[in-house]
């Protein structure tokens, strides 16, 4: 990690109350995420991977201050973002941006491109209209669009172009951190690489750091410096991308990677049979949440005790009884 971490997440949990049963008498708690710890340094990319329902989206919403955590803190530049007010909040808003999955739904169809791209500037900074235009044009230029596109409406663009517009809006304030929520999964293959390259270029140019949520493991590997593998609301493995992908420690990581299909008929795949599907977060299994599907389940320990996340060498951490003494 280079320099001081820009974002620190400590013991972050988000629980939802859900009423079930007749008359809603039983009140259950769903632990969407629990006890997350990670940090990101400047210019770094951290990827969150896992199956749907593992808590990736909740995590990003907590980091973006769209939801309030039940426990724990998110520190940005050393300050708890959920305590920010006034000017500090504005500054946070302008320094943290996001790009969402669907370029069709993430751009307000009734707003001109210029106004859409400029929104973070308009609400957070005091600029003249002319200055805003200059910044918008610069941002559009950065993502490969022309200044005259600013006058158009979203429906005049294709999916790939829309995603560029969304990126332009995310970088217009020169943020430090951009949350990328499945940013390429709805794009065509031939466009995908353009956008992936664009992310790399922007990171190189502006020293952005990214939090990437993606289900395509190849993309993750290409973009991310470090990766956190999540299962049922918890991080089960954490470490440098290459390390994790080349030598997965947690059985779940192993299974996940084995399920990814390389675009190469000759590639050797070590297929791991993982039975069943992700259990409902309403009734998570006791002990290690993964044990019912685990091909390396050790027995009682896995069934009854929750394995803590244990740090290994080189910033790696694993939460598995295989690695506890």
């Amino acid at each position: 990690m280079s320099g001081a971490p820009i974002l620190q997440v400590e013991n972050l949990s988000k629980h939802f109350g859900v009423r079930t049963g007749l008359f809603g008498r039983q009140k259950r708690t769903v632990k969407a995420v629990s006890g997350l710890n990670f940090e990101i340094g400047a210019g770094e990319t951290l990827a969150l991977v896992g199956e749907s329902g593992c808590g990736k989206t909740t995590t990003t919403r907590l980091l973006l201050r769209l939801q309030t955590p039940t426990h724990g803190t998110v520190r940005f530049d050393g300050r708890d973002i959920h305590q920010l007010k006034g000017a500090d909040l504005k500054s946070f808003r302008s320094r943290v941006q996001a790009v969402f999955q669907d370029p069709w739904s993430s751009i307000n169809p009734r707003v001109r491109i210029r106004d859409f791209v400029a929104e973070p500037l308009i609400v957070n900074e005091k600029l003249t209209s002319g200055d805003i235009d200059i910044r918008v044009h610069a941002a559009l230029d950065d993502v490969g669009l022309r200044p005259q596109d600013a006058r158009k409406f979203p429906h005049e663009f294709s999916g790939g172009q829309r995603q560029r517009i969304a990126i332009a809006s995310a970088i217009v304030t020169r943020p430090s951190l951009v949350v990328l929520d499945e940013p390429v999964s709805s794009l065509d293959v031939s466009i995908r690489s353009q956008i992936i390259n664009l992310f790399k270029d922007l990171q190189g140019e502006y020293g952005l750091c990214y939090i990437l949520v993606a289900h395509d493991l190849a993309t993750t590997r290409y973009l991310a410096d470090r990766v956190a593998v999540m299962y049922l609301g918890s991080i089960v493995e954490y470490g440098a991308t290459d390390d994790v992908f080349d030598t997965p420690a947690h059985p779940y990581t192993e299974a996940l990677l084995s399920a990814a299909l390389p675009a190469d008929p000759g590639a050797v795949r070590n297929e791991i049979v993982m039975s069943g599907e992700v259990p409902s977060p309403l009734s998570p299994p006791d002990g290690c949440a993964f044990h019912p599907r685990c091909h390396r389940c050790l027995g009682d320990a896995c069934r009854t005790q929750f394995p803590a996340l244990i740090s290994q060498e080189q910033g790696r951490a694993v939460s598995c009884h295989l690695y506890t003494e």
Binding site: V189, A260, P262, A263, P265, E277
Partner: protein, 326 residues
Amino acid sequence: MAEAPLLEVTDLKVEISTKAASFFPVNGHSFTVRAGETLGIVGESGSGKSMTAMSLARLLPKHAAHIRSGSVKLDGRELLTLSEPEMRRVRGKEIAMILQDPQTSLNPVFTVGEQISEALRLHAPGPRRTLRERAIDALRKVKVAAPEHRVDAYPSELSGGMRQRVVGAIAISCQPKIIIADEPTTSLDVTVQAQYLRLLREMQDETGMAILFITHDFGIVANLCHRIAVMYFGRIVESGPVDKIFARPAHPYTEALIAALPKLRGQQGRLRTITGQPPVPTDQIAGCPFAPRCEYADARCRSELPPSVDADSAGDHSASCWKVDR
């Protein structure tokens, strides 16, 4: 090689005509699928791959889309000239389909059992109880746990992967000769996708049916298919055995697509990109449709449509490109 192909599609053209415009989303392509074989049709959105699938089952949207020319032969029988009731007996019984989204491809108001046995009742009628037994059998075949219980479940009670298995059960229930699978795993998680593809392979091994697998994911074709057809702008631009195409792509588009993918192992530098945007079906392009984005294109590429030519001497690998020998 000598045996007759199970499905033979020749020069298929589909026209969509609306008040505003008229265009050919499927513009004259030909391919064959042999029994027990999996053909992968790969293409980006708007390339006409789903339209191809629907036109094989003659289920194009009424009024708007029409098959303009070509022939579709299943086991030697021409499908395009069948009457609608005859065609209805082909659908489901001889050609089955698995659609893209398991969330929406099951009717939410009927139980799983009702939906499976409906197909059975249409093509192999029997008493109620037998139908139910056979529906349970079909569920068992697609490895749904506790099929006796699940048969009475509504789709909303099942997970995504489970639903897609049910769709699979409907597809295989009448032992079709060919299954057309239109992006059946796109909305599934990778782990569930892997399970599902394994299931498809097993079913194929068991029944010897052919699979026409439509996808945009090269990872899937690489792992599942025997042969590949790559589509671009309503045409098949390249087709051949899967290993040949990955090893020596003959069409620049195929080549660029494969190179543009990030690799899971062994990392590369900057990703290769294809410039520009994929064309939409309403575009008018003279010459090779890929020419505007192609790094090898010359004047002839921009004015004349390239014919399909053999890419090697074996005769099982062909591409539509003036520069096959580049």
